[in-house]
């Protein structure tokens, strides 16, 4: 049984017009199917508007797809009863792009990280605090940060807190929706490093949604390319991606800036 199975998901946002005869529907996701095995990372890349975030929402269970199924640990997350769904949610956590809007600005770091623990596990006060400190240290912060509020952290630090909150319950799958995209290069690579460490330590799986091809390669075992709602290619290795003949993939590939200007090719023309 695979950890996550997405089966033929179709979704479109209907633009409701006053007069019915001009009913347009914007297809966001077209026949998306893929599988994530335990302990692996699937990187989803694509240009903006390709449907990456919608797909993320569908998998997280907040955007019911019009057609298709999302099976997590063999259960359809949209058909599961309340209790199963709560159990599934525990194993399916998320880190979003905007670290500031993902947390309640009135809560301290300790409250933010302990929230999932309070929700799912009944721990004593001391035990809970010990766990929170452990988590903070795991993501490279320390005990002094317990009582700080979100506005007292930098974006990178706050994203670490979001990651700590996501791993607090030792989930099976974490959806990383552009989680490192708004961070600077150095912080980005530190967080990516942290994420791959956590993956090895806890046997985590990731769905890594990004527009940043380099970031996707550094952590993913598989790469999927999403374009206009379709999952056009799925690669098992970096080499496959670089030898692909698909025009869209070629375009994406060419957009990676070469290490030195001498190596740059000017195959893509500006639209």
């Amino acid at each position: 049984m695979s950890l996550l199975e997405v089966k033929q998901v179709n979704h479109s946002y209907d633009s409701k017009k006053l007069f019915k005869w001009k009913n347009q529907s914007n297809k966001i996701l077209i026949d998306i199917s893929f599988v994530i095995e335990e302990g692996t990372c699937l990187g989803l890349i694509g240009t903006s508007g390709a449907g990456k975030s919608t797909l993320g929402k569908v998998i997280l269970g907040i955007q019911p797809p019009q057609e298709g199924q999302v099976l997590f640990q063999g259960n359809d997350i949209y058909k599961a009863d309340k209790l199963t769904r709560l159990k599934l949610r525990r194993d399916l956590q998320v880190v979003f792009q905007d670290s500031y809007s993902s947390v309640n600005p009135r809560m301290t770091a300790e409250q933010i990280i302990s929230e999932p623990l309070e929700n799912y596990e009944k721990l004593t006060v001391g035990e809970q605090r010990r766990r929170v400190i452990e988590l903070l240290e795991r993501v490279g912060l320390n005990e002094n940060d317990l009582k700080k509020f979100p506005h007292q952290f930098s974006g990178g630090q706050l994203q670490r807190i979001n990651i700590a909150r996501a791993i607090a319950l030792k989930p099976k799958l974490i959806v990383l929706d552009e989680s490192v995209s708004s961070l600077d290069m150095v912080t980005q690579s530190l967080i990516l490093q942290l994420l791959s460490e956590l993956k090895d330590d806890f046997g985590l799986s990731y769905l890594f949604i990004t527009h940043d091809i380099k970031a996707a390669f550094s952590i993913s075992d598989q790469i999927g390319v999403l374009e206009k709602g379709e999952l056009i290619e799925l690669y098992d290795s970096k080499d496959q991606f670089f030898s692909s003949k698909h025009p869209i993939v070629k375009q994406l590939r060419d957009s990676i800036l070469a290490e030195h200007p001498r190596f740059r090719t000017l195959t893509t023309k500006a639209n």
């Binding site: 949610r89 979003f96 309640n104 009135r106 999932p116 929700n119 506005h151 007292q152 909150r165 996501a166």
Partner: protein, 314 residues
């Protein structure tokens, strides 16, 4: 946090001093001569010598600064002078009316809070549902019916027709209900709308949506992330209304013959009873300052960031 509270309490002192200065200045600027007002209140046709003597007794012939300092010293000892009309100390008069006013204030605030929190919250959660329409209707009524008419309506239906509550007077909790409800009605209208709007706003916050995706129980999301924050503008409004209610709900007191503060003050104005006016204004200033302090402290509890230094974005 402690320093913030202390700082907030200390700022009260200069504001209160300013209030005393303003009251003192205004009374001196007004064309009312206290000595003349005194004899008018006592229905005595005063001669010039009598007026002169009274002015000396009140200390009106001294320089203004000394008068002010003397007044300040007396205020610190809760001595607001003696009423011209009743010849009793103003402080005694005020404190004898205070319990009735406090009763009415607490009663109406409690009713307002108990009714508007559930209705406003549910109306925000279930926008355009039956309860939302009901809240809209209630606010419309509460905002547009004048309280004197509402008061008489209540007396007519509940006291005269149904004989459930006494018509006027004080004493038991039954006496308290009709005036409290009458006073609470416009407050309910206001608070329900305030709460509904801010609940709607907070439901839109991304961290509320994200909390749902993370599988946090709906009860915790509603309590911790929505209601606790949404209630904040309502508490600010409450602070302002607390001052208003404490200093006298004149119309409602008149309708229900409630022996509170407001009526006493109105009478004092008609009688040009200077010490009472002065005492009342200072007391009102004190009440407003304290209720705002309480509101600030509650706000600090709700949003702990207020008392923190070193915010990144000012």
């Amino acid at each position: 946090m402690g320093t913030y509270v202390l700082k907030r309490i200390i700022t009260i002192v200069p504001i209160f001093l300013l209030a005393t200065l303003l009251t003192f200045g205004m009374i001196n600027l007004s064309p009312v001569d206290p000595a003349e007002a005194y004899f008018t209140a006592a229905h005595i046709q005063a001669t010039d010598e009598m007026l002169e003597e009274k002015r000396h007794e009140f200390g009106l012939d001294q320089p203004l600064l000394i008068q002010y300092v003397n007044a300040l010293i007396k205020i610190c000892q809760f001595d607001f002078g003696i009423s011209y009309v009743t010849n009793k100390p103003v402080w005694e008069e005020i404190t004898s009316r205070l319990p009735a006013t406090i009763q009415l204030t607490i009663g109406s605030l409690l009713i307002a809070i108990l009714v508007s929190i559930p209705i406003g919250f549910l109306a925000g959660l279930k926008k355009n549902s039956a309860i939302d329409h009901f809240s809209r209707f209630l606010s419309f009524i509460g905002a547009s019916i004048p309280s004197f008419w509402l008061g008489y309506l209540f007396i007519f239906f509940f006291s005269v027709k149904l004989d459930l509550f006494p018509v006027v007077g004080t004493g038991t909790w039954k006496h308290l209900i009709l005036p409290s409800v009458t006073l609470a009605f416009p407050l309910i209208a206001l608070y329900t709308r305030l709460l509904r709007a801010s609940v709607l706003e907070n439901l839109q916050e991304s961290y509320v949506l994200f909390a749902r995706t993370r599988g946090i129980h709906e009860k915790i999301i509603m309590g911790k992330h929505v209601l606790r924050i949404a209630i904040s503008p309502m508490i600010s409004g409450l602070g302002m209304n607390l001052g208003n209610l404490m200093t006298g709900a004149i119309i409602v007191e008149a309708v229900f013959s409630w022996p509170g503060f407001g009526r006493y003050f109105i009478e004092a104005i008609f009688n040009r009873d200077v010490p009472v006016i002065q005492g009342y204004v200072l007391l009102a200033a004190g009440i407003f300052l304290t209720s705002n302090l309480i509101v600030d402290l509650i706000q600090m509890y709700i949003d702990p960031r207020i008392s923190r230094k070193g915010r990144q974005y000012q």
